[in-house]
Assembly symmetry: C2
C-alpha cells in the first residue's frame, strides 16, 4: 500500500489548495456505482440490509456491505442492530447524510436538464467516429 500524504495532484507535484484535496478525496469515496443510489434509497426512510438490497437492485451483497461501511465511515449512514438472532440491522441516513442529499440533488437536476444535450453529443461523437 504505502499511500503517501495526499496532495491535490494525487500522486505528483504538491501545491494547490487543501480544498482541492478534500474534493478529490470525497469524489474518490463516493464515486462508485452504488453510494449515491444507496443514499437515494435511504432518502425515504430506514431500511434493513436485504430490503435495501432489493430496493437498490443489481447490487451484490458484498458491494452493498462495503458501500454501507463507507457511508457509515463518512458519517452519512447510521447502522443500528436491534436484535441478535436472527440479526436485525437497520440503516438510516444521519443528518449529515440527509444534508448531503442537497448537492447531490443539484447535480442530479443538472444532469436531468442537460441529459438530452449530452446524449446528443455522444450520438454525434459516435457518428463522427464511424463515418471517419
Amino acid at each position: 500500500m504505502g499511500e503517501q500524504e495526499g496532495t491535490c495532484r494525487v500522486r505528483g507535484h504538491p501545491h494547490e489548495t487543501a480544498a482541492c484535496e478534500h474534493i478529490s478525496r470525497m469524489l474518490e469515496r463516493i464515486s462508485d456505482k452504488w453510494t449515491l443510489l444507496v443514499v437515494r434509497a435511504l432518502g425515504n426512510g430506514p431500511l434493513r440490509f436485504n430490503a435495501l438490497k432489493r430496493e437498490v437492485g443489481g447490487v451484490s451483497q458484498k458491494m452493498l456491505a462495503s458501500t454501507l461501511r463507507g457511508l457509515e465511515e463518512n458519517g452519512f449512514v447510521l447502522r443500528t442492530v436491534t436484535q441478535d438472532m436472527p440479526p436485525m440491522v437497520e440503516y438510516a441516513l444521519t443528518d449529515l447524510g440527509r444534508d448531503f442529499g442537497n448537492p447531490v440533488q443539484t447535480f442530479a437536476d443538472w444532469v436531468i436538464r442537460n441529459s438530452e444535450r449530452i446524449e446528443a453529443s455522444r450520438a454525434a461523437y459516435a457518428e463522427r467516429r464511424s463515418v471517419r
Copy 2:
C-alpha cells in the same frame, strides 16, 4: 430532497426511473480520478495536450488521452487541431462544459463546508474499529 416516483434500479434491471438512469450513467462517466481535475484545469482557458498534462500533474498520457476523449464525447470539451506537423492540438471547455462546472462547484462547496464533520466521522469510525 425532491424525489421522482418509482423505484430506482440500475441499467438492465426492471423499473428504472429515467432520471435515475441518467444520473447513474453520468456518475459512471465522470467519476474517475481525472475528469473533474481536467475540467478544473481547463477552467482558466484552453490548453494544449502536454501543457494540460503538466497542469493536472500525476496523470499518465494514456489516462489523460482517454479522459479527454470521454469529455469530448460528452460535449464538455472541444478538441481543435490547428496544425499538422508537429501536431498542435488545443483543448477547451464548451459552453456545456463550463456550465457543468456549476453543480460541480455546488458539490465542492458542500464538501468544503462539511469536510471537518466528515473527517471527524472517519476518525471516530477508525477509533471504534481499533478499540472494538
